[in-house]
Amino acid sequence: MKNKVSIVDYLLVLVFVVIIVITLYPFLNVLAISFNDATDTIKNINFIIPRMFTLSNYKYVFKDTDFVMPFVISVSRTLVGTLVGVFTTAMLAYTLSRRDFVFHKTFTVIFVVTMYVGGGLIPDYLLIMRTLHLGNNFFVYIIPGMIWVYNMILVRSYIDGLPVALQEAAKIDGANDFQIWYKIVLPLCTPVIATIALYYAVGQWNAFMDTYLYAQKLPTLQFKLYEIMNQATMKLDIHSNSNTSTAVTPMSIRMAVTIVATLPIVIVYPFLQKYFIGGMTLGSVKD
């Protein structure tokens, strides 16, 4: 469209600038409060530049042993969950990409069906807690959600697009199916592996319900934030009434934890963008 730039074009830009402000303002507000003196924050929380700059909120969070454990758990589940998820997904995807595999069709169907029907909250809960006794066990974060069928399909579509000649050459050289996958297919899958690794990592880092339902004794950072959120309002009221001048309030702690929990997402965001959008369109290539 080689039209001249008109007034409407500038109006559109203005609209989107407003949208950007509405999107970013709440985040900047949290960031500012997390760096602001806690007692000063109580006066008015509507600002995006710290009025009285301090690091005491973060110092409190990093010193308090209450937050060390959730941080370690969040990081561990993200690392282990991503590693296990990527490895198992890629392996399964390879076997299902092999049209000559006897169970190619059967296995594909039984996996895809689970994308559309599920047992639901109570049966899942009973299986994990009462039958398998995985409650408050670290593996409850890894095993039940190990493979996302959607990710498996992404990898399978990608393998489908690779030249078959490589696999056949390896076969003639005497490689077995595992070796073909590990030495030939896997190295070629790096882009799609990066995509699903990000999916798994973000999913693991952001997960909240599994902790809430199954493992409250293994709190993640997300769960810890939820806990503070539910007590913060009560304690904050006490503070604002009694005029005490403590260095931190539940409110300011909550803001610091919110930032710590958001930071990894913001750091991987440039990569997310690159791979997620590619992944979204890839997903439609099914057969």
Binding site: T88, R98, R130, M255
Partner: protein
């Protein structure tokens, strides 16, 4: 692309010989099939609990030794004092969410598609879906700053709106607003990619014919993304009762719980909270059954008004 593979291989019949030859493939897939059966199919079998009385004491009993109650759990659910309000909340927040959410995403995509400054367009899009990747807990924490009494909005307008502390349908709109704020940029992606698939020749022809911007949007862009809109609408109507417990619970507080309770949460409350596993499962089964019915109805209507059907 998968075609080239099929031509090189002959069709395999199941035999001991082929099982042995494909032992590596079997070893690489069977463990995950077992995983799938345990974690995805056994819970489906759990649906039988909806027709039985299952309490913590009777859970370990074999299925045929439990008391069969027929539709008893469903009747119990419908007679529950929370049921009507829960249904109203679920449908309310869902219908408002689907309507405003769809319109917002389409509007966002159409407007962004019209932006001629490409760099600005890219930056805007990048920022717009940042909240999508942030967890609901974090969103809830941020939302509390904005909507709580004395929060950002209250202090901005110098008035106390009680946005998150009024026990009324107001909270539905607040939740829907937060959801749209989080997801609109992300949901617009699919419309934008549908727009990218529209033949540019159409726009050029329209320009030669002297169509203005609104006419181009109305006659080319919107019809171009129409199939996408219909498919997404059918799917969201099918999921109308599946309002996530996570979002509702995190954005709720004791003051407004009468209006934030939805079916999935209710199922959890009765099933796990009150340890009535049969009742909890029945609510879940009801939710799925209505979901499938709604999906089929929406699909049928789409067919009747001459649109492409999903199934």
């Amino acid at each position: 692309m998968s075609k080239n593979r099929q031509t090189t291989k002959k069709k395999n019949r199941l035999s001991l010989g082929i099982l042995w030859r494909q032992r590596y493939l079997l070893a690489m897939s069977i463990p995950f099939v077992i995983w799938l059966i345990i974690f995805k199919y056994i819970p489906l079998w759990g649906w039988t609990m909806a027709f039985q009385e299952v309490k913590p004491a009777t859970f370990q009993k074999p299925i045929f030794e439990r008391t069969f109650v027929g539709l008893g759990n469903f009747i119990k659910a419908f007679k529950d004092r929370l049921f009507i309000q829960t249904m109203v909340n679920t449908l309310g927040v869902s219908i408002i969410g689907i309507t405003i959410g769809t319109i917002a995403a389409i509007l966002f995509a159409v407007m962004l598609n019209e932006v001629v400054f490409l760099r600005f367009k890219k930056i805007t899009q990048t920022i717009s879906y940042l909240p999508h990747f942030v967890s609901w807990v974090i969103i809830a924490s941020i939302a509390k700053n904005v909507f709580n009494d004395g929060g950002v909005i209250d202090s901005l307008f110098g008035k106390n709106f009680h946005l998150m502390s009024t026990n009324s349908v107001l909270i539905w709109f607040v939740i829907v607003f937060i959801d749209i704020w989080k997801e609109v940029g992300w949901n617009a992606i699919i419309y934008l990619s549908a727009m990218a698939g529209i033949d540019p020749g159409l726009y050029e022809a329209a320009e030669i014919d002297g169509a203005n911007r609104l006419q181009r949007i109305w006659h080319i862009t919107l019809p171009g993304i129409r199939p996408t809109i219909i498919v997404l609408l059918i799917m969201s109507i099918g999921g109308a009762l599946n309002v996530g417990m996570e979002r509702q619970m995190l954005l709720s507080n004791p003051l407004v719980e009468d209006y934030t309770m939805v079916l999935s949460w209710f199922s959890y409350k009765r099933g796990i909270g009150n340890s009535d596993y049969g009742l909890g499962t029945a609510i879940g089964v009801f939710q799925s059954a209505v979901g499938i019915t709604l999906l089929l109805i929406a699909n049928k209507i789409a067919g009747l008004i001459g649109e492409d059907k999903l199934i």
